[in-house]
């Protein structure tokens, strides 16, 4: 018999880091640096325009080239880390927060509540993320806040679903039953066993989720509900660059790569943290 939730120690997580995981970790650390001290990597001003220098291809002066207003794309990509990753974080936070409420209510509440909430969660989960996000954005209007809320709300059912399953697995686990048999009070069982064993695996899932959320928000940008200009948020940059794709491919390629690389690194790391789910 195996344990419903794999043993989660940091050391075990590091031990699981294969070369890919190490690379991912390095990338994520670099992303963090770029988010916190962008000036360290790219000292320029991401908003500084230079119309005479517009649409310059990548060169030593402009590593990633310049955009239609002559802004340096490398600088913008680096300075865009904070808003882009921040958006992913915020959306994931909202998603997990809402998911926590639904998941715990359903997983720990009375059977009837679980049956009802469980169904509703499944139905919400059935609604494609973008469809649901579009609805909410259409109501709230464009902008970062709305996009974050929409993606958060649209991903919440997914988190709720995982949480509910985890809560149920942990609540039905041998160690919770044993604690009950020992006469431990319900709140104590919850605090000691259920909450930590439910929440810890969520770290991995959340890491995966941030990467996905960045992609979703940029998709909203593409559909015209994105971050406000002239923020160097990657989705918005990518969207702006797509117009020039046939003449200035670098405007599209580099922000797109930033998204792909970040999401990939977060996904690899998330998988590792999620307990090496894939044997």
């Amino acid at each position: 018999m195996s344990n419903p939730v794999a043993a989660p120690s940091l050391r075990a997580a590091f031990a699981r880091l294969r070369p890919a995981g190490v690379v991912a970790l390095v990338v994520v650390l670099a992303i963090l640096v770029a988010a916190v001290w962008p000036g360290l990597i790219a000292p320029g001003d991401p908003l500084a325009i230079a119309p005479t220098d517009a649409l310059a291809p990548p060169s030593l002066a402009h590593l990633f080239g310049t955009d239609e207003s002559g802004r340096d794309i490398f600088t913008r990509v680096v300075h865009g880390t904070a808003p882009s990753v921040g958006i992913g974080l915020a959306a994931t936070g909202i998603g997990i927060g809402a998911g926590l409420v639904l998941g715990f209510a359903s997983g720990l509440g009375p059977k009837a509540l679980d049956a009802a909430l469980g169904r509703v969660i499944e139905v919400l989960f059935a609604l494609p993320t973008l469809v649901m996000a579009l609805l909410l954005v259409a109501v709230m209007g464009p902008g970062t806040g709305a996009a974050v809320l929409a993606i958060g709300a649209a991903t919440a059912p997914g988190y709720a679903r995982i949480l509910r399953a985890r809560v149920r697995a942990v609540a039905g686990s041998g160690y919770v039953e044993y604690a009950r048999l020992e006469g431990t009070r319900r709140t104590r069982v919850f605090l000691r066993h259920i909450a930590p064993n439910t929440l810890w695996p969520l770290v991995g899932v959340a890491t995966l989720g941030i990467g996905q959320a960045i992609v979703w928000v940029s998709a909203l940008s593409f559909l015209g509900f994105g971050t406000l200009p002239p923020s160097p948020e990657w989705g918005a940059m990518l969207n702006a660059g797509r117009v020039y794709i046939s003449t200035a491919w670098w405007m599209t390629i580099f922000p797109g790569l930033a998204i792909v690389v970040t999401a990939t690194a977060l996904t690899v790391l998330g998988r590792t943290a999620a307990g090496g789910g894939r044997r």
């Binding site: 169904r119 059935a126 973008l130 469809v131 609805l135 797509r242 599209t252």
Partner: protein
């Protein structure tokens, strides 16, 4: 008995879908914005008092909110989706006209995703030696990158390469024109292919290590036979179980891909409706998307029964929910 219970459960979830979706959409769209404005052609219109009154009457807007809601719920429940505010056409007609195009796109994309995922899993399974490890490692990498690839970016790059530069494939798509379908289907399929390939590769490795696989080898089965007669069926089960969800995700992607490739369909209808705050159209589109999901689940159930005759409903596993978590 079992069939009846199963059918009841599916009908129940269809009704639940209708209720949940109607509720969300109705209250979300009323929360801000004035539906009356949308009916009368936007803020630029010069509608007279009379037209306003007629619109109020037609759409029940002079009734209390709760009554409007119940009215709507009743109508949606019986699939009387009413007329589009902005287009002044029956919603059901609009959707019926667009649905086949989107279903064609999504179904082809799912088929392609399956084909790619199967190929990936089989290649990963059959690659041996150092070269094989390199192949497997790059497949893994490709899967992850495919999964996180923004579709509109991928599509734009494909258009740049195949339509603008090489000129071998059209950049736009409509109906069932085969050449036009290639790029949208590929764009739509790749992320799902990455997702399915991961699941399939994992479950194939799992099936490969299972005792029944050892037994089959001990009977003299070759790798190919083992794959075709034993492990592939097992490996496809989890992927099959998740295909219903994957289909939902394809409908999500269709919103983007249809815009990108100027392809008519439900996704574009939905975007237009959301932008114009066309309540009946949005409800209709979302309800239909959700109902399509229910239908797909039914088909998925049937396929699963076909592949797995054990009739044992496995609980839809917690396994891999990490991937599913992040939504469609």
């Amino acid at each position: 008995m079992r069939i009846a219970r199963w059918a009841l459960a599916r009908i129940g979830s269809a009704l639940l879908v209708v209720w949940v979706v109607t509720t969300i959409v109705f209250f979300a769209l009323r929360a801000s914005g004035d539906p009356l404005e949308a009916i009368l052609g936007g803020p630029g219109s010069q509608a007279g008092e009379e037209a306003v009154a007629v619109a109020r009457e037609t759409y029940g807007l002079d009734q209390p909110l709760l009554w409007q809601y119940l009215l709507l719920l009743g109508r949606v429940g019986t699939l009387q989706l009413g007329d589009s505010y902005a287009r002044r056409q029956p919603v059901i007609d609009l959707i019926a006209a667009q649905l086949p195009s989107t279903l064609l796109l999504a179904t082809l994309a799912l088929a392609l995703a399956w084909a790619l995922a199967l190929c990936g899993a089989i290649i990963a399974r059959t690659s041996r030696g150092p070269a094989g490890r390199a192949v497997t490692a790059s497949l893994r990498g490709a899967e992850i990158v495919a999964t996180v690839m923004p579709q509109f970016w991928l599509g734009a790059v494909l258009i740049l390469v195949f339509a603008s530069t090489l000129g071998v494939l059209p950049a736009t798509s409509s109906g069932a024109d085969p050449a036009g379908l290639v790029l949208p289907v590929v764009t739509l399929a790749i992320p799902i292919a990455g997702f399915l390939a991961q699941i399939m590769r994992d479950s194939l490795a799992e099936a490969d290590a299972a005792p029944f696989a050892v037994t089959a080898r001990a009977r003299g089965a070759s790798d190919t036979r083992l794959l075709l007669h034993h492990t592939l069926r097992h490996a496809s089960l989890p992927a099959l179980a998740l295909s219903g969800w994957a289909y939902g995700s394809l409908l999500s992607g269709a919103v983007v891909v249809e815009t990108l490739f100027a392809r008519p369909g439900l996704g574009r209808l939905l975007i237009d409706g959301a932008m114009q705050r066309d309540v009946p159209l949005v409800i209709g589109a979302v309800v239909v998307v959700a109902l399509v999901y229910v239908v797909v689940l039914v088909i998925g159930d049937a396929l699963e029964l076909l592949v797995d005759p054990r009739l044992r409903r496995r609980t839809r596993t917690i396994v891999r929910q990490a991937d599913v978590a992040v939504g469609a």
